[in-house]
Subunit: 153 residues, 2 copies
DNA sequence: GGGCTATTGTTGAGCGCTCAACTAAATCGC
DNA sequence: GCGATTTAGTTGAGCGCTCAACAATAGCCC
């Protein structure tokens, strides 16, 4: 049986294209700034942030993968690089012999501390400075709605 | 002189993290679906879409780069792959001997036509089905605002 | 407790991207 | 017109990602 495609109406079409262009442009700009100023891509910055917020700056690899919305494979590759840079280290998990615990090193923390102000300033300049408080609230609700929708059905 | 960092307030912090997680999750889902069903990443799909909408399904490489928000280098690499797949072809530009014109082939058009319904359905299911009409309008305005802000200052 | 099954994390191949360097041709300025 | 500058597009190295396959261990169930 042939099912008719539910095409996007003109409003949806415009919204989708604007959303795509805007989110790509934003992430590219932030990624480039972070790469230039801190020598790491945004994905790696996020890993360091999550580790820095964890108790003792340490997290099981799988928890870190969940926290950063990453696949285990992606995180493994990233961890290998971050370890080679001296920003994290991996330890055996005492309670699960399969497990690994990623630990933020002092050098990693220092790098993060040095990178954070510039990056936060970038997020503010490129995103929040453009939006009204009402729009920030709307974007928050929209994003939470999307997230719920994407991580259940 | 030391300048204090304008950190994000809690609302902004939550908004930023929700936005990051939601947009990453959405794009990953759509990219995976497109790769599985059409054998191409979303970026390549966009290139084919823009070509399909152009007069005679042909565009100068630089115009195509602008239309897809891509660097010239990225588009060159992509074009090489799309050409190898037989979905586009490149011709010399008659009015500028440096120029190249990307042309969507019949095979490329057919591939796009086969991929489009599934992809559009995905965009609808994963994004628009979750949002109210008011939210769609908000997201549209927010995205346009971001885009203006990012592509001028 | 012994065999399934599920989970944890890693690995390698291959792809798409960025960045910098480059060629070639058009255009500007005098 | 001619040198200097700008623009169009490509290239290769290197990085980060996905995917599939894998080893090792944990948990389940009879």
């Amino acid at each position: 049986m042939v099912v008719m495609t539910r095409w996007l109406n003109p409003d949806e079409q415009r919204t989708w294209r604007a959303y795509l262009a805007a989110s790509r442009a934003l992430m590219e700009k932030l990624d480039r700034e972070l790469q230039r100023d801190a020598g790491m891509p945004h994905a790696y910055y996020e890993i360091l942030v999550r580790l820095s917020e964890a108790p003792d700056r340490r997290l099981r690899m799988s928890d870190l993968a969940d926290a950063t919305g990453s696949s285990r494979s992606r995180l493994s590759h990233a961890a290998a690089r971050l370890e080679a840079s001296g920003w994290i280290r991996r330890e055996d998990c005492p309670t699960d012999r399969r497990g690994q615990i990623a630990v933020l090193t002092d050098a990693g923390f220092a790098t993060l501390a040095a990178a954070a102000p510039g990056h936060v300033e970038g997020v503010r300049r490129h995103l929040f400075d453009a939006l009204s408080p009402a729009q920030v609230d709307q974007l928050h609700r929209i994003s939470e709605t999307m997230l719920d929708h994407l991580t259940e059905g």
